[in-house]
Symmetry: C2
Subunit: 349 residues, 2 copies
């Protein structure tokens, strides 16, 4: 590759192509692995574009929403083009004075070996490299900011409160539970396998956890875990779990709506029936997204980096090697195949 | 009546008795009018109870919830005893130094001619009598505080925002719409008859209004009225209307959950499907109740009394004469029979 030189940069670029809009559960065959042999990746004179070599790619549930032709406020993926998502890369060529060749960055990139990133893409320069670079797809990236903002800003937690986290061993849930313990809350998580339940209790320090797939009733499971009720629900799944949680909320409870993964593959979302509880218990339900908290990213790093270095926060990643294994890893999110944050390694650092 | 004298007070007391728990739509026959001929209503020595003669009674949708054996956090009505609700009365006898015989009061009382009120009942002394006393069941009582707190405190409105109010000509909705106009918002209301729609547009000054019973689709009606979307939804009805509103919310929209009257008579509440919009649009949904804002009641009066005296706020009551007509008035709320705030006159002032 000779990006930035006078010659045009010509690379062989392996890509994960989005084939067409998806209904129901996504499959590996909804994506195609191709290698473009003659792609010209260089920054045009006067442009502020950046060319990156992608190192790590992040599998996040919201990506399923971009596979629908109409996805709420998101712009869907373009059939025939690579899918996009959060990733970590190294700058190869840059027309943007804020980034130089050799810089490590994280932000929105393509699922491919090399990406030409336009100026409007979200991109942060990585300043701290004493932690694994893959962490910038998780604890130091969007999922970490999501957990931090959702728990501290949206939920306004207080010491001693009762906190429930669904999808609790996932990319966001594992931090929410640990933040809640740092705050002095009582924390219970739900997950979909016994292995994940053990992880919650033994590694992440949750006070209790249950396997939602093995409970005869979610309401009964929550009543058992929270005889006093729930002050804070960190919502990652939606549907039947939300319905059961609503029945167990306490007065002035808060529900941070981070994700509704159980609904993403349904043509028609499930109905939620117990919304009267919002009235009875004066509950606040708040949708939010990490994107609004990026201006506070350096404050977040000041908090989280010492936690990582001192071992106060544990982090579990599920790492898959090779871009060609990315589609299987991504769709695995929707069957709960991953244990911890799902990352795809595109290239060794 | 000779309450407070050495003799026991013996009165003839007409009452509306709650017969038994109700499923489905309430009927007049769920209540019985009886006259107790020999009731002893006096304040026992040393007690802080109060005896009131009831003048006006308020019909409010939440009363339906007290007719269920299990009603969320509310204590249900007791079969065989009078139903209770907000009302205006005159103190006949008092063991409470804060109230004296002759004082006018509003608060929670019984549906009967005379009530013995325990110290724990909510009761305010009426200080301003240059407005009709019945107003203390509405614009100067719980519904007024509800509209004020729900709009100004829960919705954090800004000038120029788009506001939608359901059940907009009702006891609370009519004030919300007028407060929103005072704030410089664009306001649309829904109601269930053409007469109410005209009232909204011509009396209360809503920018637009529609009859939800005559619209082929609620989503289409909202899209027509709010091509730009909705910033604030003041929720009085729930169910299908909430589902349609969710599809039309703007980023950072707020939904104040004041009531869900369409659900109160259902054994199983309807499912609401479009909760993904809470995530997409970062919407806040907040349940609330006037009860938490009563400490600010005098501040509320400072705001609302001048509005009434200067004619800045219009108020429509639907007044029924006679306690024996109370049950029909109360159940009329659930078919939308009332036009404006439903009040029952028990006794001329």
């Amino acid at each position: 590759m000779a990006a930035g030189s006078d010659k045009e940069a010509v690379v062989s670029n392996k890509q994960v192509i989005f084939k067409d809009y998806v209904t129901g559960f996504p499959r590996e065959s909804d994506m195609a692995i191709i290698t473009t042999g003659n792609q010209k990746l260089r920054v045009a004179p006067g442009s502020k574009d950046i060319v990156v070599k992608n190192l790590y790619l992040s599998c996040d549930p919201y990506m399923r929403l971009l596979m629908k032709s109409s996805s709420g406020i998101f712009s869907p993926y373009t059939p025939g083009s690579p899918i996009t998502g959060f990733g970590v890369g190294k700058v190869m060529d840059s027309g943007n004075p804020e980034f130089r060749a050799g810089d490590l960055v994280w932000g929105i990139t393509g699922w491919e070996q090399y990406s030409l990133l336009k100026l409007d893409r979200l991109l942060f320069k990585i300043q701290h490299t004493d932690v694994p670079l893959s962490y910038y797809t998780g604890i130091l990236g969007m999922p970490g900011v999501t957990a931090y903002a959702g728990f501290y800003e949206v939920c306004s937690p207080k010491k001693g409160e009762y906190v429930f986290v669904s999808a609790a061993s996932g990319a966001v849930g594992q931090f929410v539970g640990q933040f809640a313990k740092l705050m002095g809350c009582y924390v219970v998580g739900s997950a979909g396998t016994q292995e994940k339940v053990e992880l919650l209790k033994n590694k992440f320090g949750f006070d209790d956890a249950f396997n939602y797939k093995e409970e005869p009733g979610l309401n009964a499971a929550l009543k058992r875990c929270f005889p006093q009720g729930i002050d804070i629900y960190f919502e990652n799944v939606g549907g039947k779990m939300l319905d059961a949680v609503l029945l167990n909320m306490r007065i002035h409870g808060r529900i941070a709506v981070c994700g509704l993964i159980s609904q993403y593959n349904l043509a028609q979302p499930e109905g939620v029936h117990n919304l009267m509880e919002i009235l009875y218990k004066k509950v606040k339900v708040q949708g939010f997204a990490a994107s609004e908290y990026y201006p506070q990213y350096s404050k977040f790093l000041d908090f989280i980096l010492p936690c990582i270095r001192e071992g106060k926060i544990k982090y579990v990643e599920d790492i898959v090697e090779g871009l060609e294994n990315g589609p299987a890893a991504l769709i695995g999110l929707f069957s709960g195949r991953n244990v911890g944050k799902q990352v795809v390694v595109v290239s060794p650092e």
